[in-house]
Amino acid sequence: MIGLRLYLAQRLSAFLMAPLVIGHIATMIYAVQNGLTASEILDRTQGSLWWGAFYGLFVGAVSVHAAIGLRAIAFETLNLPVRWLNPLTWTVGMVLALLGGRAVAAVVF
């Protein structure tokens, strides 16, 4: 049950994510030096507006993209009733944005 707006939101978020994913993977390989721990990474990234913006955009795009993708799976594969689709899409999007937002906030502040 995907109409024009959801389709466009999903395509545009994919369009944003394509370079961000590559940047993210490259950073992971480059940045992880002494094991993958939050403090090890925050030590070097904290206070950076640039990384905050990079991951802020990433988290936004992921939240939109994954919420719409899961909506289609929930409807087509799990037969979730139509009336549950909008609540599900919003909930998934908000939860992802919140979880990702916490990490981004830790980088910036």
């Binding site: 049950m1 995907i2 109409g3 389709y7 395509r11 409807f75 087509e76 594969t77």
Partner: protein
Amino acid sequence: MREAAEALDVKVWRGNAHGGGYRSYSVPAQESQTVLDVVTWIQQHAEPTLTYRFACRVGMCGSCAMMVNGEPRWTCRTHVRRVLDGKRLEIAPLRNLPVIKDLATDMAEFFDKWTGAEGVFHPTATRKDAIAPISPADPMRQLANEAVECINCAVCYSACDTVTANPSYLGPAALNRAWTLQNDERDGAYAPRLRAVSADGGCFNCHSHQSCLTYCPNDLNPTASIAGLKRLSSTSFLRRGRTR
């Protein structure tokens, strides 16, 4: 001529909307035999009450489609030897459509979606006006050409897993037809059709996995037509704002 003594092991689904199952028949094999020939032989020699649908027998009318060894086919143009699995042939009513009886499905929903996608020509001229000259070289005419030879057989509709998963999805045939009309200069319903095909059950539900294209007996490419509709709807939305 092959010996008639050679027999095909044919299973045919028999039943109605409440259920049914396969029955086996032994049918003499013949040279250049089509699946429709086999069904007809069974009805004439073994099972007079067997119900199935056909008309033209030459791939024009689109009424004879059935599942043959699990895949949707136009039976009048499908040679047995091309689809035979050993000597086994399993024939069932088209998938994704309700059964009326035996091999005949209820096509009402298929055609309702056809009109739901505005797959209907809306004339802009009367019979008193001159016929609009459209050059065969016209780019829009060429786009329509590629998609226009549809015989409404519902093979693609039956092959589409998105139709199975999402009963409100308009499906490949209806959307393919809508695409030809969006490329018809003489048609007067461009905007309403764009709204119809971009609504909730419309073109944006297509996953582009191309089963429709794989099975269309006329080698049409509904996936490409649907991609065209996605493009038209998106650009019209981005250029002019809301389309509905």
